[in-house]
Amino acid sequence: MEFGFLLKYYKFFIAGTSNTLMLSALTVVFGLIGGIFLSIMKISPFKPTQKIASFYIAFIRGTPLLVQLYIVYYGLKDIPMFAAGVVAMSINSSAYIAEIIRAGIAAVDKGQFEATKSLGMTTSMAYKEVILPQAFKNILPALGNEFIVLIKESAIVSIIGLHDLMYNVDTIRGITYKPFEPLIVAALIYFVLTAGLSKVVESVERRLQVSD
C-alpha cells in the first residue's frame, strides 16, 4: 500500500469531508424539525393527521433512500444538487426520527400522565413539565444513533454527483489509478466522524442521568 497520493490530493478529502459534514448537519436540523412535526401529528387526537403521518412514515421507511434521492433529484426540475441531497436525506430521516420520538414518549410510564391529570394540569403542561423531559432521555441515545447512521448513509448522494467525501474519493481513485488506498482513507475519515459523534452523545447521556 502506498499513500503518497495524499500529499497531492488531500484537498479533495478535506473538501469532500466538509461537504459530507455540511450535508449531514443540515439533514439533522431539517430531519429533526420534520420528525418533531410528524410525531406531533401522530400523537394528536385528530385522526386524519394521525393517518397522514403514519402513511408518510411507513412509505418512507418502506422505500430505499436511493429511490427517494432519485425522485427528488429528477422529480424537482432545476433543484440544485446539494439541495436535492439535503431534501432527500431530510425527508428520509424525518420519518425515522418521528418514530424515535414517538417511541420515546410512549415509553414514559402512563402513570406519569395520569398524575399530571389528577393534579388538574393541562395536556401541554404535562408534556412540557413531565412527559418530554423524561422522553428526552429515552430519545437521545436513539437520536444519536440516527445521526451516526445519517453520516454513513450520506455517501449515497455521490451517485447524483454531489461532491461529498465518497464522490471525491472516487475521483481520486480515477485520477491516480489506485482503486484501493483512497477507500481506506475514506473509511478512516467516516469512522473518525461517527466515533467522535458517539462520544459526544455518550457524554450528554451521562449528564442527563444525574437524576436517575
Binding site: G111, S118, T122, M125, V130, Q134, D212
Partner: protein
C-alpha cells in the same frame, strides 16, 4: 359533596361498572373493598375522570361535572389522587414534585409553593429528603410524598387507589398512619383498599363491591361484624 348517578363503564364488551349510585358527604371517609376485578379502582378513577364513564353523571358540590377539558381540569384541582404506583415525577426533586402543581395552576410564586411544600414535608416527617430525587426514597416515603403532592393543591377531597398495595409490609404502617391523621382532620376521603384493618378502624362507611355493583354498604362495625349479603360473607371469610 360528590354525587354519583347511575355510573356505567364499559371497556368494549366488558361491563365493569353497572349503574353505581352513591353520595359522599363532606368530611366523610369511605372505604371501598372487594375482590380484584370488581370495579372498585375503575369507580375511583371515574370520580376524577381518569376514566370517562360510559354513562351517568357526577355532581360535585351540587354542580354537574362537565366533560370538556377546561372544566375538568378545574374540577380535578379540587380532587387529590394517590396512586398505587406513587407516580412521582422522577426527574424532579421531592420539593419540586410537591411545588409543581401549585406553581403551574394556582399561580403561586416559587417561594410560596416551596413554603407549602416545606410545611407538608415537616408534617410527613420527610423534610430532610426535600432535595432528593424520588428514586432515593423507600416505597413508604414515596407514597407519603405523593400524598403531600396531592395535598399541596389544598383539595376538597382525596382519592386513594390501593395506596399500600405496592409497599413492602413494613412500610404499610407509615402510610396508613398518615392517612389516619388526615381522616381525623375531616378530610373527605375515598379509599380503595385491601387493608381491612384500616377500613374497619378509620372509615365512616364501607362499600363492598363485586362484579361492577355495590353489593352492600354499611358502617364498618356492621359490615364487618354482621354482613348480610352472601357474597360479602364469602369475601370477608377469605380476607379476614
Amino acid at each position: 359533596m360528590i354525587k354519583l348517578k347511575n355510573i356505567n363503564k364499559k371497556f368494549g364488551d366488558l361491563h365493569v361498572l353497572k349503574g353505581i349510585d352513591e353520595e359522599i358527604s363532606k368530611g366523610e371517609v369511605v372505604a371501598i373493598i372487594g375482590p380484584s376485578g370488581s370495579g372498585k379502582s375503575t369507580l375511583l378513577r371515574c370520580i376524577n375522570f381518569l376514566e370517562t364513564p360510559t354513562d351517568g353523571e357526577i355532581h360535585f358540590e351540587n354542580q354537574l361535572v362537565q366533560g370538556q377539558t377546561s372544566a375538568l381540569n378545574l374540577y380535578r384541582e379540587q380532587i387529590g389522587m394517590v396512586f398505587q404506583q406513587f407516580n412521582l415525577f422522577p426527574h424532579k426533586t421531592v420539593i419540586e414534585n410537591i411545588a409543581m402543581a401549585p406553581i403551574l395552576l394556582k399561580k403561586c410564586s416559587k417561594e410560596e409553593a416551596y413554603e407549602i411544600g416545606t410545611t407538608l414535608l415537616k408534617r410527613i416527617g420527610l423534610l430532610d429528603k426535600k432535595d432528593e430525587y424520588p428514586n432515593k426514597l423507600s416505597g413508604g416515603q414515596k407514597q407519603r410524598v405523593a400524598i403531600a403532592r396531592a395535598l399541596a393543591m389544598k383539595p376538597k377531597a382525596m382519592l386513594f387507589d390501593e395506596p399500600t398495595s405496592a409497599l413492602d409490609p413494613e412500610m404499610v404502617g407509615e402510610v396508613l398512619d398518615l392517612m389516619k391523621s388526615l381522616a381525623h382532620e375531616e378530610v373527605t376521603m375515598v379509599v380503595v383498599t385491601h387493608e381491612m384493618g384500616f377500613a374497619k378502624e378509620v372509615a365512616d362507611r364501607v362499600l363492598f363491591m363485586d362484579e361492577g355493583v355495590v353489593v352492600e354498604k354499611n358502617i364498618p362495625s356492621e359490615l364487618f361484624g354482621n354482613p348480610q349479603h352472601p357474597r360479602t360473607i364469602d369475601f370477608l371469610s377469605k380476607v379476614l
